[in-house]
Point group: C2
Chain length 198, copies 2
Amino acid sequence: MPADPARRNERSRRAILAAALELLAETGYADLTVERIAARAGVGKQTIYRWWRGKGAVILDALVDAATAGDGSVPDTGDVAADLRALIRATVAEFADPRLSATTRAITIETLSDDALAEQARDRLLRPQLDAVRSRLEAGRRVGQVRPDVDLDQVVELLFGPIYHRWLLRTGPLTEAYADGVVDLALAAITPAGLRQG
Amino acid sequence: MPADPARRNERSRRAILAAALELLAETGYADLTVERIAARAGVGKQTIYRWWRGKGAVILDALVDAATAGDGSVPDTGDVAADLRALIRATVAEFADPRLSATTRAITIETLSDDALAEQARDRLLRPQLDAVRSRLEAGRRVGQVRPDVDLDQVVELLFGPIYHRWLLRTGPLTEAYADGVVDLALAAITPAGLRQG
């Protein structure tokens, strides 16, 4: 039976993405090279360049694969305040983690100087995450826990924007107390008057 | 009478910063070089390298000089809602301006890969702007227009974080209607219950 080229390609692709994530964790983004990824994956450098433009594109694909491994939705316990609190605590913890932070920083640098990669990162990595939060807010709105007159895309950015700002510009600590403060302000903005406390 | 070296240095410094901003406007950041700045300012390249580490540091100093030319405070008409609306409309317009946006993008790229420059940009360029907004919010709190129990640094990031997120990650349009939406959400979060509308 002849070897199946599609299966062989898929095996190589998976080996390359796994190698990229391993090396990223071991050496950091700055010291990552296409040569090293190829060597770790047991493929030729030209195999990588046939499918990707450079290490930024490889890492983006690896992160998208990792992000889409789960179902990606935000848990719905029926309490939008509790669910947002858990989500934002986890998000702030990710930005505070030195290794994850270094990866996000590296991708941000690459996307700032590469418009095509920026669109890919937005549409394939960021947008699904933002849309998952939007869906959770929509569910909250259906049960009267979110004001009907707010733009939910703006509410999503009200949650993530301050965290991103603080992380990128290093304007303050990324602690759990900070995460709760972000959620408290957002809830004050979106909770219907009848449900507000204080 | 001998030439005064301090005055000559200050004259050179001003010529270099002015040349850097002129060239930035004419050619954009990517094509800006220390050589070109030196030629435009009529100084030797080594004069620039004596005072700055590279073009990023020169541009940062030029932007700080430009930013501190005015008094930097946020106007206080007595109406915190109106003042925030004017401020955020102007901020969104700046991020939507292709030339200003390109400069901010360039500085952001440089600071992401240069910790020392990142600290300088934060402390000398960003922090004074954020603190000016904080001061306006403090004045609003003194007259009862801002809830006493919110962390004002977090409120400042609630205003700027979403804009920065949307600009950097290109998740949506930067229009006046968007700016007003940011302010409306922030006001809903910070306005004391007794003053809330709707």
